[in-house]
């Protein structure tokens, strides 16, 4: 998916809104959920990436004015979001909790949102928002009968009904099938291209990779990295990796692997080899050549620290 292929909507926003966080921290008792985070979000799509429990939701709630920062300030175009309902004229939120009024139809639900915003033409706004998320076919069915992905779209429609400058989405792709996911990505792309400030959180690298050029990475409550996605991706792929390897002759393979420049250490254990690697790509290309060259068959190759947490904690140290 390419950003350049996305055309801005016919009426781009006159001025984009900026969401600024200055030294924001939030703690619960003596547990620090968000630790001294500063960032400035402008028009376009930004991904908020981090493992579960990193503080993404807490941060989003503070951005959306649903939580007071323990320290620091969250401002939308200069005005604080906490205790200030007026910000919702320019801000939309899609929370992670799958909370909808199941007894309403999608149309009623979005229409109610439009009315609560006191829009001049609520029914037209509701129709437009529902068309935007392609839910026209099901709009007069009760939301209680919807699939998870459809509910999510109904909530996005409700959040978009007043055409906000800033849209915050907490894990918007959870529970969506691939087609819905693509459609949602396309929608966010278009909104970002039209000058809206879009921030979505995710714990899945690929989602962020496909959708956003800029990314903010959170780990354990802190902002671990921020900026261009490709730079961060490179950092991630170039980090040291650890593999578990079993083969027909572990000792011989250990000797052969030590000759490889991409390998920084090999340990011979009862359960096979533990190989430390400095370059993921070079090692995975080298192993299939080295082993047969020494008459060894590799039985098992297991990356040992592929959890997202380890990727992220590496970023923190980097």
């Amino acid at each position: 998916m390419s950003v350049t292929s996305v055309e801005p909507r016919s009426a781009p926003a006159p001025t984009g809104s900026r969401l600024d966080l200055a030294g924001v921290s939030r703690w619960y008792g003596n547990v620090v959920a968000v630790n001294d985070v500063s960032m400035s979000l402008g028009p376009g799509v930004t991904g908020l990436l981090g493992p579960n429990g990193a503080g993404k939701t807490t941060l989003l709630h503070m951005m959306a004015g649903f939580l007071a920062p323990s320290r620091g300030a969250v401002t939308l175009d200069g005005t604080p979001t906490w205790r200030n309902p007026e910000v919702y004229r320019r801000l939309g939120l899609v929370s992670e909790r799958e909370a909808v009024h199941t007894f309403l139809t999608a149309y009623e639900f979005v229409l109610a949102s439009a009315r609560l915003h006191r829009l001049p033409d609520p029914s037209e706004a509701a129709r437009r928002a529902i068309a935007l998320v392609e839910l026209e076919g099901a709009q007069s069915r009760r939301i209680g009968t919807y699939s998870k992905g459809m509910r999510q779209r109904a909530r996005v429609a409700a959040a978009l009904v007043h055409d906000p400058q800033v849209l915050l989405l907490d894990e918007p792709f959870n529970g969506m099938d691939p087609r819905q996911r693509l459609h949602m990505m396309d929608l966010l792309h278009r909104l970002g291209g039209a000058g809206r400030t879009i921030l979505f959180s995710s714990h899945i690298l690929e989602e962020v990779e496909q959708l956003s050029g800029t990314v903010q990475v959170m780990v354990a409550g802190r902002l671990a990295a921020s900026g261009d996605f490709r730079t961060i991706r490179r950092l991630m792929t170039n980090r040291p990796h650890v593999f578990g390897v079993r083969s027909t002759d572990d000792r011989a393979l250990a000797v052969a692997l030590m000759a490889e420049p991409s390998v920084t250490g090999v340990e011979l254990g009862r359960g096979g080899l533990t190989v430390r690697v400095s370059d993921y790509g070079a090692f995975t290309r080298a192993l299939p050549k080295v082993a047969p060259a020494h008459g060894i068959r590799v039985r098992q190759l297991v990356p040992e620290d592929e959890s997202l947490e380890s990727v992220f904690s590496y970023l923190v140290e980097a």
Partner: protein, 236 residues
């Protein structure tokens, strides 16, 4: 009808919890009809049924279910976020919800109380009970709505107030009656249609002023609490 009250009414009447409202009023009417049919002296069955059941149990319990439900249920399931992410002054959320809660409670309680009052004494006593119960419904709902914003266990706390404070202490420590909505309702009903079936130590002016103060005070508290409403950070 404002959008907030429309959603509130739909949510209230659409939930299964709504069915909880019916058994108590039905029981009240049933007991009154039964007592009347069996020819029991109204002086004997009136106070326990009208006050003991009607004003001391049916009114506060219905108000508790409805008052903690109009906002509490939305807080519990997270749908409150949809209403809160709108550029509405928070009183425009609290007042319609209070109006719906007080209205539903008043109708649910006033009708059986009216019927029981008529059977026990006269149409006037019935009307007085219904009117006083409506005032009580407003005060109770304001209290319980505010409770649903200050604690995560509004029903439990409300029950403690109704059962322990009003029910138990009110019988032994007469001073607690000054802070008992139930006593205000009795005083007001007795003022509207004097009858020997209703008796309380609380004076009518105290009852009127305290009902107003409780309603206004707890509504103001609810508005302020909603202004700084925090979404629980239990997920991450």
């Amino acid at each position: 009808m404002s959008t907030v009250s429309w959603i509130t009414a739909r949510g209230l009447l659409g939930r299964r919890r709504f069915l909880l409202l019916f058994p108590l009023p039905v029981l009240l009417v049933l007991l009154a009809v039964l007592s009347r049919a069996l020819g029991v002296d109204p002086g004997a069955w009136g106070p326990p049924v009208l006050v003991g059941l009607g004003l001391a149990v049916v009114l506060p319990v219905i108000a508790l279910i409805v008052g903690t439900g109009v906002l509490g249920a939305e807080i519990d399931d997270g749908t409150v976020v949809h209403i809160l992410t709108k550029p509405l002054p928070r009183w425009q959320i609290v007042l319609p919800k209070l109006a719906v809660a007080a209205g539903v409670t008043a109708v649910t309680v006033a009708v059986p109380l009216y019927v029981a009052g008529v059977l026990a004494s006269s149409v006037w006593v019935g009307l007085a009970l219904a009117a006083a119960a409506a005032i009580g419904a407003l005060a109770y709902c304001a209290l319980f709505l505010a409770l649903s914003l200050v604690t995560r266990r509004p029903v439990l706390l409300g029950l403690v107030y109704v059962l322990i404070w009003e029910g138990l202490l009110g019988n032994f420590v007469s001073g607690t009656k000054v802070l008992s909505i139930q006593q205000y309702v009795i005083a007001l009903a007795d003022r509207f249609a004097p009858t020997e079936l209703l008796a309380t130590d609380v004076s009518v002016p105290v009852a009127a002023v305290m009902s107003a103060l409780i309603t206004i005070g707890f509504t103001a508290l609810a508005v302020d609490r909603l202004r700084s409403f925090s979404v629980a950070g239990d997920t991450s």
